[in-house]
């Protein structure tokens, strides 16, 4: 079919629209001035970023929360996907998919309501633990999505063959299905990590006073006004996540 020039040009413009704002932000994070006029290359804002104690603590919190919730969400989500693949449970899969489309603000306030209600009877406060629980809860659905997609392309006869040759159901899962699922599980874990690390809405509602996360600090700084340190942080996050994505693609290729 004759291709017009329109599509490639249009596509290029769209890609520019998608990527240029971020590239500009990255570029200006190296600007020696804090105004949006280029005045020279400088790592000043990166230095400021590294010296910020509050930022360091928030980043640490974010990492801990993301790693812990990813760990649990991946395991729980994978097992759940497998169980649902064997035989579906409408209420469970329905609820999990519903949690995916529920607006974050609604999820956040409902969890806040739950925790406040629990804390009436139990001497606990909002803190890292409530954030982690919340993150595990919403990450499970993401893991389910990715692993389920993988399972749908799997051959059910493989587990039958394993059983036929003397493996129990657990062995069939462990020795046949699980190894084949590995790339999918890795991709799911990466997604869960990304979603958790980046979350603002839910976290801000259920975090305590002493469990600030990186997105929360970033948000406060962004709200306050133009701040080139935010550009520096953004660049680091952007490059960091970008590297993670590349890593995931590399892993996916080795299937």
């Amino acid at each position: 079919m004759k291709q017009s020039r329109f599509l490639p040009v249009f596509a290029a413009l769209v890609y520019a629209f998608l990527h240029v704002p971020l590239l500009i932000l990255c570029a200006f994070s190296f600007n020696s001035s804090k105004f949006t006029i280029w005045e020279g290359f400088s790592l000043e804002w990166y230095r400021a970023m590294f010296n910020d104690a509050q930022l360091a603590e928030a980043t640490w919190n974010s990492l801990v929360i993301a790693l812990v919730s990813t760990f649990f969400a991946t395991i729980i989500g994978t097992l759940c996907a497998y169980g649902l693949w064997k035989r579906n449970s409408k209420w469970l899969s329905g609820s999990l998919y519903l949690s995916l489309v529920t607006p974050e603000i609604v999820t956040g306030i409902s969890l806040l309501a739950l925790f406040q209600w629990i804390f009436r009877y139990w001497q606990v406060q909002l803190g890292m633990h409530t954030v982690i629980l919340a993150h595990i809860a919403f990450a499970i659905a993401y893991v389910l999505l990715v692993v389920m997609a993988r399972l749908r392309t799997a051959e059910p006869a493989l587990e039958d063959a394993a059983l036929d040759l003397g493996a129990t159901e657990w062995q069939a899962f462990r020795l046949v299905t699980l190894p084949i699922l590995k790339p999918g599980i890795a991709a799911a874990a990466l997604l869960a990590f990304t979603v958790s690390f980046d979350d603002y809405v839910i976290t801000s509602l259920v975090a305590g006073v002493d469990s600030e996360t990186l997105p929360m600090v970033l948000y406060a700084m962004a709200r306050r006004g133009a701040n080139p340190v935010v550009s520096a942080i953004s660049t680091v996050i952007f490059l960091g996540f970008g590297a993670l994505i590349l890593l995931s693609e590399r892993m996916q290729k080795n299937t």
């Binding site: 006029i37 729980i76 949690s99 607006p103």
Partner: protein, 277 residues
């Protein structure tokens, strides 16, 4: 065998019930209660919160949210369709790269991407700096803190949600149909209008719903890019649970939003089945 399966499903079921279904039920309950004296909730049971939804003060916000979401969705579809078409027609070895380039920004921080637009649009932002230094304007243009900025932010944020289902639909189109159309004398534009677009209707519906729903429930984008004047439903809810301390009303709004979301989803599932994901 069933024991194993129950064991596998138990943790997820536990989390879903305790940390999703129960909180939702609590919110449903709160929506029928009254605001407590010091915040929180108290009796008596009432429908008042739902009645307040129709108050013009809040009606404006609801209406604005719907309008902005519709605008963002329409723009997303208009932009995503040609892009998806482009990718679907590309050589096999480029397809993945093109898709990857669409998804890549999405997988990095949402906050960062929203901030990027603040950086560009604010009075001291890059666009105004350029315009001012080129003497095209003498005062900074108020590009930020209005509804347009929010819509731009929404489109920027959710464009990949539109591209992926459209691409998936277009990629699966039988190339033979296109060749048959050309064979029978259709121009490329006619082929697109009469064959591609109708066949792509499920993809368009899925893309539309997948963009509209998050737009409707958006919080960060209107909060950072909209300033105080263009708040959406999400901001209203947050406001009720923090500053205004009117949890019952906030709950009622949340449920109204959920109801709208679920209606849209049911409509889509009924029409197109489970391939939406």
């Amino acid at each position: 065998m069933n024991r194993l399966r129950t064991l596998f499903l138990a943790p997820a079921a536990g989390f879903t019930v305790v940390l999703f279904l129960i909180p939702l039920s609590i919110i449903i309950g709160y929506s029928f209660l009254t605001r407590g004296v010091y915040g929180g909730v108290a009796g008596p049971w009432t429908f008042e919160n739902y009645q307040r939804l129709f108050d013009p003060l809040y009606g404006v916000i609801l209406w604005r949210s719907v309008v902005m979401s519709t605008a963002a969705t329409a723009l997303c579809l208009l932009i995503a369709f040609p892009l998806a078409l482009f990718i679907a027609r590309a050589d096999a070895r480029w397809k993945n790269i093109y898709l990857y380039l669409v998804i890549l920004p999405f997988w990095t921080s949402f906050l960062v991407r929203t901030y990027a637009w603040m950086f560009l649009l604010r009075d001291s932002g890059l666009i105004n700096s350029i315009l001012l230094s080129l003497k095209i304007v003498h005062e900074p243009l108020p590009l930020l803190y209005n509804e347009t900025a929010v819509v731009v932010g929404l489109v920027y944020g959710y464009l990949p949600f539109a591209v992926l289902p459209l691409f998936s639909n277009l990629d699966r189109l039988d190339k033979n149909l296109l060749e048959a159309a050309a064979d029978l004398g259709a121009t490329p534009w006619q082929t697109i209008r009469h064959i591609v677009i109708p066949l792509c209707a499920p993809g368009l519906r899925a893309a539309g719903v997948l963009v509209f729903i998050p737009c409707l429930g958006a919080y960060l984008t209107p909060d950072l890019l909209g300033g105080g004047k263009s708040i959406m439903i999400g901001n209203l809810i947050q406001n009720q649970f923090t500053t205004a301390r009117d949890w019952p009303f906030g709950s009622a709004i949340s449920l109204a939003l959920m109801a709208l979301v679920m209606i849209l989803l049911m409509a889509l599932l009924r029409r197109d089945g489970e391939e939406a994901l």
